[in-house]
Subunit: 332 residues, 2 copies
């Protein structure tokens, strides 16, 4: 796992020195080699990036896999070695690991380099990483709203970011030229950038992501308890709706543990609202208030239409799933 | 909307007089012309059924659409007229409408005919329909675990039932030969049959379908309230997880109102367990108990694997969704 001979760490980059298709970087270091980092590497290559992409992962197994499949040009055993000479460093580790990684790489970051991250929580990452960023390095926190339920160095693919939003939460005083360079890279891999305040990001994501994930985990956990009672029927008959929840509840446990622990207040706030609302609907069921239920379900149907119209999901029924198994295997 | 000249209502069928590819019926009447009935018609035709398929829907608009697209051979203005001469009658209306339809058609059912339904709740349908079934008619309640978030006469497609479970909850004393004929039809359209007790069906479906649907409706409703605060951000950034919930929460409001009102006890029981479990996880977040969260999320991940291994969902990441929009439309 030694670096490529041609890696040329230590050579600083010049803003605007584009290396392929509007991606103004020469050497990109990915810290963490999971779904997001791997997809970024694939997407950059697919878009013609001709500079270096190097990486580090804490797990030796992940490093070995990444090296074997050629995910990046060079895999380094230490994060500090990986970032040397990089003009862009992307922290793609669980939110709870950001602070330790930043402490390790801080002294090794090149002056003028851009440091970003892909964490699903922003204020906690800013608090953890910020103190370790040396003067002259541009720290621009980010979060691509893209992912699948899969994880690890082999799960990435070049189109993950296509037509997705990539949120940036820059700190006051961020160098506009540095931000423009990062935005150019994000645009080159197919995503759209929005800029917002970190606290607002954390609230919006609590609604659109964190609370839904915890709810899906919970529903699948309830079914798991019952599965032992009903002898596998929950799995067997999951196509009635439940299986949708299991996809979300198959997401990486470490990543999501850290998300909840680091966006605690906003997530608990939304879950509190959820529980209130659930109780109102449970009461409507108990009291037989069909009108309330019908009105509620009609409103929620309209939201799906809004998401499809906004280009954020497919219009195909059932997400366009292809049925598993080409034909009936059993007549009775 | 007059019947086809060749419809020949009134001609009784003989068990075993198969009309195409192992579907032992001559004239099938579909009461209700939505997603399930339409898919059944498409699937039977695709499998070579050469007998008649006729139908009725309460809504004139639905009847017009069904006639225009040729969903069935004949569309009748009344359910009673549609069932005359049919050797299989399928009730495919919302659970809350089953009783009234059964009362209307009961006197017009042919001796020897099979009457089934596709309701998502079984005990309530048995209670509502049973009293209207004349002697000599075989009432065999059923429930195909298949559907999409779409509804109406144009939403059906021939592969909806492929590799799905179709549960039957026959009453004591059901004629085995009649049940075999229904099972043959279900097998011919690609589904697998399981037989169970109605009360057990209603409990299993509360876990795998009814509670997940109410939870999805609730989460989308919460986001709808917040959407007004956050100016469309919930829709814009829905790809972070939330959009999965919106698919389920786009399901037919009337159908689902009736499901909850008619499977009240089992649904409320599962929702009670869900809330308890949610509170335990909320507490773990509040107390910072990362180990509890990680262990929980690791268990739920395994369930997804079980569902894929059981052939009940695709292994493709993100359900195999195809990204909307071929390329970035916006660079900033």
């Amino acid at each position: 796992m030694s670096p490529d001979v041609g890696a040329a760490p230590g050579a600083g980059s010049q803003p605007g020195a584009a290396t392929g298709a509007g991606m103004p970087f020469r050497r990109v270091a990915l810290i963490g080699l999971g779904l997001i980092a791997g997809s970024l590497a694939h997407a950059m290559r697919a878009q013609g990036f001709t500079g270096q992409i190097v990486g580090h992962a804490r797990s030796a197994e992940t490093r070995d896999t990444a090296a074997r499949i050629g995910l990046v040009d060079s895999v380094y055993d230490s994060a500090a070695a990986a970032v040397a000479g990089a003009d862009l460093v992307v922290l793609a580790v669980p939110v709870g690991a950001m602070g330790a990684v930043a402490a390790e790489i801080g002294p090794h970051l090149e002056p003028g380099a851009i440091l970003t991250d892909v964490g699903s929580v922003k204020q906690a990452v800013i608090d953890a990483v910020g103190p370790h960023v040396p003067a002259g390095v541009h720290f621009i926190p980010g979060h691509p709203l893209a992912g699948t339920e899969q994880s690890g160095p082999e799960s990435g693919f070049a189109t993950l970011f296509r037509n997705r939003w990539w949120l940036l939460t820059p700190l006051p005083g961020t160098d506009p030229a540095a931000q423009d360079r990062l935005v150019a890279l994000i645009g080159a891999v197919g995503a759209h950038v929005d800029v917002m305040d970190p606290a607002h990001h954390d609230l919006v994501l609590a609604v659109t992501s964190h609370a839904p994930h915890l709810i899906a985990y919970t529903m699948v956990g309830v079914a798991d308890h019952l599965r032992r009672v009903t002898e596998g029927e929950v799995i067997k008959y999951s196509a009635a709706g439940f299986r949708d929840f299991t996809r979300i509840a198959a997401s990486d446990p470490t990543m999501w543990r850290d998300v909840f622990l680091h966006n605690r207040e906003a997530t608990l706030d939304i879950l509190g609202r959820f529980t209130e609302e659930l109780f109102v609907l449970q009461r409507a069921i108990r009291m037989g208030d069909g009108q309330h239920l019908h009105d509620y379900f009609s409103r929620t149907r309209a939201i799906r239409r809004g998401i499809i119209d906004a280009g954020q999901d497919t219009d195909a029924p059932d997400f366009g799933r292809v049925p598993v198994g080409g034909a009936a295997r059993d007549k009775g």
